[in-house]
Amino acid sequence: MQFDFLDGLFVLMLATFIGLDVIRRVSRLLHTPLMSLTNAISAIAVVGAILLAGEQESRLSTILGAIAVFASTTNIVSGFLITDRMLKMFKKREPAK
């Protein structure tokens, strides 16, 4: 794998620019769903957890990995579901009225 610190830093900088810009423009109306959506996205840690649990390099790493997979999946599933549940409630006035 080709990776060095500055590569990572470069990506981090660009992603931070995007993150700050994008979030700043999220509608205030949706700040609660935003919290649960980013909560679900932060469970991206599942990527590292899956690798640990799958590579099975040592018993410790496998078990810790499996626990981490469990914890993150819980986050992902509940986070996305609850966000969608909240968003479904937001409705515009029906034009008929």
Partner: protein
């Protein structure tokens, strides 16, 4: 080849996450945002499963399925419990990051593969991860009122906290110098766990939304650190998005409360002014539901200002009935939404949306205030601090400078609450003693219910 494919999948996943958040800028596209987020996460998982170094899937698939099963009921919580669910979820996220960092450390230490760079990234990941984990647990406990919500303070707590932090940094530094001292690593973990608890414990329950948001940001940073550990750009990007979100939401809250981060973290707000309320003895005018119904139906424009009390009493469906009754009579009804009304950002919006009130009737503070003097009736439902004129007038008030909704400028102000007790900030509210204010004492749900009944019961309700 397979490596390239995985990278490509990660790239698409990253783009989907960005679109996911972009689409949250508008309620019309917001659900599409959730689908993009789900798609991004699915791709991230599938891409990872393709990794050639994975030798067995049982340790992956079983916790994956169990986690999903555990996640489903967690998404059924009532909307009032969303803050504690989010906190709990952050605890899981922090734990996952911490565990991955721990496992990586022992693996690499075993093979002697720990460069200073890797060690540094792991230390950051582990500290942030475990701190988020315990901190979020305490926050969830306070919100669920399992742990006392009042600020738990004791002499020298700041000294202890900073000592802990300094110790953690010291241990981390020693590990950076010689990563093979594996006995130090558990110490680091314990310090991080303890720091998380002690950081959040002294903060009052009502400040938890800001704390949760900050912890969200930490969880994001832990993912970024994990990205550096695992050499994975997807983790770095998603973590950064998350970190930005937590940071910005905390800033929004602090600004709307006119407070600083340090004040939230170390200020123990919500306790200091406990005794102030009883200083002066004045009387407020009170009215009946019938009076209120009459006032409302004769108004041509009504602004409803909901607050935490509406959330507590779950009055939003009654409020919806009221909205319908008044709209039917040709009254122009708007909702004025203060950015920190309730107990989490956007709290009122979600509740009113749940009650099927069209979101184009919800108006933000800055947009409604210029219109307030023209409103016939301002109906305050369980809100207190967010309509306290002391924020504008009284330089000595702890909320001085906080932007508020100008309910006092409407021709008549009706205020629904159970008593003359203060709200979150613990200070008295001039508004209730103003000449043009009428109090409607009682639980918000039942008071609004009576008003609706009075309206529906024909004419002026007699």
């Amino acid at each position: 080849m397979i490596d390239q494919l995985i990278q490509l999948v990660y790239l698409v996943a990253t783009a989907l996450f960005i679109f996911s958040l972009k689409w949250m800028s508008d309620p019309v596209t917001a659900r599409r945002g959730v689908f993009a987020g789900v798609g991004g996460m699915a791709l991230a998982i599938v891409g990872t499963l393709m990794h050639p170094l994975i030798i067995g899937y049982s340790w992956i698939v079983i916790p994956l399925v169990l986690g999903a099963l555990a996640g489903i009921p967690l998404s059924w919580v009532p909307l009032t419990a969303v803050p504690q669910r989010t906190a709990l979820s952050h605890a899981f996220g922090g734990l996952a990051a911490g565990l991955v960092g721990t496992a990586k450390y022992f693996l690499w230490a075993g093979h002697g593969e720990l460069t200073t760079f890797r060690m540094g990234a792991i230390i950051l990941e582990v500290i942030l991860g475990y701190l988020t984990c315990t901190g979020s647990l305490v926050a969830a406990g306070k919100l669920q009122e399992v742990i006392p919500t009042r600020p738990i303070m004791y002499r020298g707590q700041n000294v202890i906290n900073f000592t802990l932090l300094a110790l953690a940094i010291g241990v981390g530094g020693m590990l950076m110098i010689d990563p093979s001292r594996t006995f130090l690593f558990p110490a680091l973990i314990v310090l991080a766990l303890a720091f998380g608890v002690l950081l959040v414990l002294p903060i009052g329950g009502a400040d938890m939304p800001t704390v949760i948001s900050l912890l969200n940001s930490y969880a994001g940073l832990a993912a970024v650190a994990m990205g550096f550990v695992m050499e994975n750009k997807l983790l770095i990007t998603a973590g950064a998005l998350d970190g930005a979100s937590g940071l910005i939401l905390s800033i929004v809250m602090c600004k709307a409360m006119n407070r600083s981060f340090t004040n939230v973290l170390f200020g123990a707000f919500g306790q200091v002014q406990a005794g102030v309320a009883q200083v002066e003895q004045r009387t407020a005018k009170s009215a009946t539901a019938d009076d209120a119904a009459q006032l409302l139906e004769n108004a041509s424009s009504v602004v409803i200002i909901p607050g935490y009390g509406m959330a507590v009493s779950q009055a939003q469906h009654r409020v919806h009935d009221l909205y319908e009754e008044l709209t039917k009579r040709g009254v122009d009804v708007k909702f004025a939404i203060h950015p920190v009304a309730g107990r989490m950002p956007g709290h009122m919006n979600v509740l009113l949306a749940e009650a099927e009130i069209p979101y184009d009737r919800l108006v933000e503070m800055d947009d409604i205030n210029p219109e307030m003097p023209r409103a016939d009736v301002a109906l305050v439902i369980g809100a207190n601090d967010v309509v306290n004129p002391a924020a504008r007038r009284d330089k000595n008030s702890p909320i001085f400078g906080m932007p508020i909704i100008d309910a006092d400028k409407a021709k008549v102000c009706l205020a629904v609450k159970r008593s003359m007790n203060p709200g979150f900030a613990g200070i008295e509210n001039e508004l209730y003693f103003a000449d043009n204010t009428l109090m409607l004492f009682g639980d918000a749900k039942s008071v609004i219910g009576e008003v609706v009944k009075s309206l529906a019961g024909g004419g002026s309700g007699h």
